[in-house]
Symmetry: C2
Subunit: 195 residues, 2 copies
DNA sequence: TTTTATTGATTGATCAGTCAATCAAAAATA
DNA sequence: TATTTTTGATTGACTGATCAATCAATAAAA
């Protein structure tokens, strides 16, 4: 059985398994056994590669935020104009896989975890900053800097809010509607500035 | 020591203690011992009155949502016009005690818990519906019903989003700024409808 | 032989929940 | 009023379950 070079394979499998289990469970109070089982290995192996449960969870946040970041970068490259880049940022936030109930449940759990884990908090802060800075940078080409900051703050809040509200699954709003609502926010406020 | 009629006193003390411990801890993974200690009683007594940890936590959500509701009702009564009622709803959401880091941490934990506890989820759904319906009712007097629904959705999302973003404590935005941002959202969108 | 991958078995800690016992106020009774 | 009974309040000690983490052992590749 034992083949050399399994480490990266196992690490990826465990990180993916963690995300899935956390999403299903809707909480970070998952056991190493559950995660390991989902990844098809023994709990001991998970400890072998990650040292502790906390490290595995931190790595899970890190990897998934990295993937999200890659999506944003790709989407930004594909959008030619600032206004289209703004829409692209919004669209990525509401991508199908991001909007899946288990994904939202997992992110929610990470937000809660950030209250205790400084490292988790750091990752989420970086994500929040990046979202904001992407919005501000493109807004600045369309309106004064001061307004750009304010509108970005509102848009970021709306994205996070729409996202969180999905987690309750009451009056669930579609991906399209969420995108439209946020996009409309930008359009209306930019128009208001022109008088 | 033992006096009769302690039950309501103890229940309140335990519910308040739970909220405080959860807020400090930033998570629902708190022990009955911690809560009981904070309330100044033995863990056994907490079990005596609430039966289980889950019941105590559910009661904690219920009580605090009830208090929030009372604040809203009072604020709505005091506001004379629909437009002022809208601002009142927004203002209550960002009240000083609501905006305290521990309070936000606690609500975040409850949102996460709602993924698993059907009863917790029910309470939060009711809160979300009530917020939405308060907004819609007053917006309808100022614009067509269809627009009212849309604007309410956006405002509710923005409120939740601004709230959640405070939990990361990065680029923290003041109470006043949060209120202003949300209020501005309403004003701008209502104006846009008038052409 | 040395190194890497892997696991079963075990340990130690933590915790929710239980229970029997205690204490004092209130109610009933003499 | 004095005495007994009942009841609510309260806790310390205990139990059983869960789980993260460890470790020694095994198996295969290098």
């Amino acid at each position: 059985m034992p083949k050399v070079g399994m480490e990266p394979v196992r690490r990826k499998a465990l990180v993916d398994a963690a995300m899935r289990v956390i999403g299903d469970h809707g909480s970070l109070t998952v056991t190493m056994s559950e995660i390991a089982k989902q990844a098809g290995v023994s709990p001991a192996l998970a400890h072998h590669y990650f040292g502790s449960k906390e490290q595995l969870l931190i790595e899970t946040v890190r990897v998934h935020l990295q993937r999200l970041r890659d999506s944003v970068v790709t989407a930004l490259r594909a959008a030619p104009t600032p206004r289209e880049k703004l829409s692209a940022v919004i669209r990525v936030s509401f991508q199908a896989d991001q909007f899946a109930p288990e994904t939202i449940a997992a992110w929610l759990a990470f937000y809660a975890e950030a209250q205790r884990s400084e490292e988790t908090r750091r990752f989420l802060v970086i994500y929040a900053r990046r979202l904001r800075s992407n919005l501000v940078a493109n807004l600045k080409t369309l309106c004064p800097a001061e307004d750009a900051e304010r509108i970005a703050e509102g848009a970021a809040a709306m994205i996070d809010g729409l996202y969180i509200r999905q987690s309750l699954r009451s009056a669930p709003i579609s991906i399209e509607a969420s995108i439209a609502l946020t996009d409309d926010y930008l359009t209306t406020h930019l128009n208001a500035l022109r008088g």
